[in-house]
Amino acid sequence: MTIPNTIRITEELVAAHGLKPDEYQRILDLIGREPTFTELGIFSAMWNEHCSYKSSKKWLRTLPTSGPRVIQGPGENAGVVDIGDGQAVVFKMESHNHPSYIEPYQGAATGVGGILRDVFTMGARPIAAMNALRFGAPEHEKTRHLVAGVVAGIGGYGNSFGVPTVGGEVNFDARYNGNCLVNAFAAGLARTDAIFYSKAEGVGLPVVYLGAKTGRDGVGGATMASAEFDADIDEKRPTVQVGDPFTEKCLLEACLELMETGAVIAIQDMGAAGLTCSAVEMGAKGNLGIELDLDKVPVREERMTAYEMMLSESQERMLMVLRPEKEHQAEAIFRKWGLDFAIVGKTTDDRRFRVLHQGEEVANLPIRELGDEAPEYDRPWVAPETRPALDPAGLPPTDIADALLKLLDSPDLSSRRWVWEQYDTLILGNSLQIPGGDAGVVRVEDHPTKALAFSSDVTPRYCEADPYEGGKQAVAECWRNLTATGAEPLAATDNLNFGNPERPDIMGQFVRAIEGVGEACRVLGFPIVSGNVSLYNETLGEPIPPTPTIAGVGLIPDWSYMARIAFPEEGQAVLLAGAPENWGEHLGQSAYLREVHGKAEGTSPPVDLAHEKRVGDFVRGLIRAGKVTAAHDCSDGGLAVALAEMSVAGGMGAHIDSPPGNPSTAFFGEDQGRYVLTCKVDDVDELLDAARAADLSLFTIGTTGGSELKLGDARAISVTEIEEAHEGWFPHFMQD
């Protein structure tokens, strides 16, 4: 089946391309004539939500994106941050939600492939990956299938490509039943003097196509990512792309080798709407035109039309502008790695995007306007309603030990070992902390002491109850997790997953969440340097909870002063930093409330950002001074769960004092800005003095040791029992 370029443009056809009538009118006004079929395809790709950010742009502009260490903020394939010594960390996160729901293995695999490409396109060798996953209720019929496929797909791609996966998230909630989320993060290392950008320079230079051949994969995929699912989802299936990690690994090596030769002027990977977006971006940024000759494009299927070639989302492909005198050297490198190499066009001085196919000019469009003149909306929004606070007095009393075991054995708080043991967490030989702690840590190769920490966070139930506080909390938790290893949080990337922005209530969630994210980033000095927006995450009118995933990177100057979560030694003091007098008091929207009392009530825990920063800076200072022997932040499940995780990781228990006030709120409250620390008994006074001097709370709450965890007056639980509860849920759910 082939599609000629002479198809008549009808109203239906325009609508099928996801273009609204006023958007189509905009096209007519812009080019002064009816577009050809191929041109219509190009516009639909460039102007859909996924590529144009037409609903989100206005709000993204409000995020802080610069800082003393930021070399490149949003606007390129990935953000770039200086880590000293002439090196930079390059990172980004991106969603592959819809493809993963349709075909979990390949959808997740190609999501990982896409984000790795974004990173090495900039000249960075990938050194770490993470994945943030949200699935429907465990009991929903599709959930297990999606979990199995997505996890296998992420591992299948990342393991074969050869990047350690050092972190991520998994949540379950019925609101994701019809729309799972797969957000993939990758980071790489580059020299600050060898970063590559997408801006083309120079007229008449060869535009080179590299990598795998073009097939009909995903034709219409970018359009799909911007449309709500409806009942005819099966019809959309043939657009599934298959990942080829082997080719991508070869592409990585070939690109880095080529970059070393000085041949590369501009480079852009082919992601969504492949050839179209990459060519337009290179030309528009350089204020140049691009002429493509599709007869030169390596194809793997017969009789492909211009339309299909321009919209194909075949994976593992790149577009470059090369120095003509280095063309042969470049070609030799690509042949060595068994990759396709073809000159498919040239840069021109007319600022037109011209596409030739079989002797015919199938597109001739103004290149800058394709991007710049894309519609931008200020969509109407309504502020989300605030919820009444929870009155904890109304809750029946619970047994603290039973409640803790129940939490540890629940879908959201159980160990994710089943997931991360399917990922290669060790490859490259630099992993200092693998998943299971607060942040993954990878040492900087060839540097004697430096390391980078990575964490990805968001708590959708908080965002649902209060998008503004939830947005703040996502940033704060990420910042806190990096800090808990001793890292200085440098910068972050975001993946904003929401429902249909044409609904004012959803748009309200989006706006408030961004405001919260922005505020937290400003106060914490944690700029957003790259990111991705995924809207229309809803099925048959059921939206997902607002899910602004934040992934951050931190710098550890000397990893011999790095903290881990494991209780290190018997007889050490256990301390709680940053907590209120009664240790904890906020039960609204807590995991405890949901799992033990079956309620989703109250407000989300507020984040006092100034306090957050002061506590974090204080804790980091102690870690770096070698005064702290373990550190762990309190998040889902509060203090009790943090202590249990530290026990299991260290293989030893602890004796915790009876808290002042209500034990349930003390042990299970989810108050923000708190850390559990351990230190040598001899150092306790010094630490308490330091806290007093900094005007921060620090309480001694117990002592490590023994084979049981005893929380105040509650029954002591053996560490074995804790571990069994914690490790039990996932394998049991997956029926292993």
């Binding site: 349709i102 075909e103 390949q106 994969d217 299936r237 599934v240 298959v242």
Partner: protein, 80 residues
Amino acid sequence: MIKARVIVTLKNGVLDPQGKAIEGALGGLGFSSIGSVRQGKVFDVELDTADRAQAEAALEGMCERLLANTVIEDYSIAIT
């Protein structure tokens, strides 16, 4: 007992990285006549039943529910 062979192949147009790599390797080994290679799976299944119609229905169900990923694969069933 009924024996059957199920063959699962990638749909037309779906990328087959394995087939492509094998193609390249065969070329490298000097098989110059090699055109294209597509790789699929075969399942040899034994069923504890003597009822052919029932076996056919069961095999069809197995393909739809497990053996084939019908998003990207086709299958065929032959009772032997």
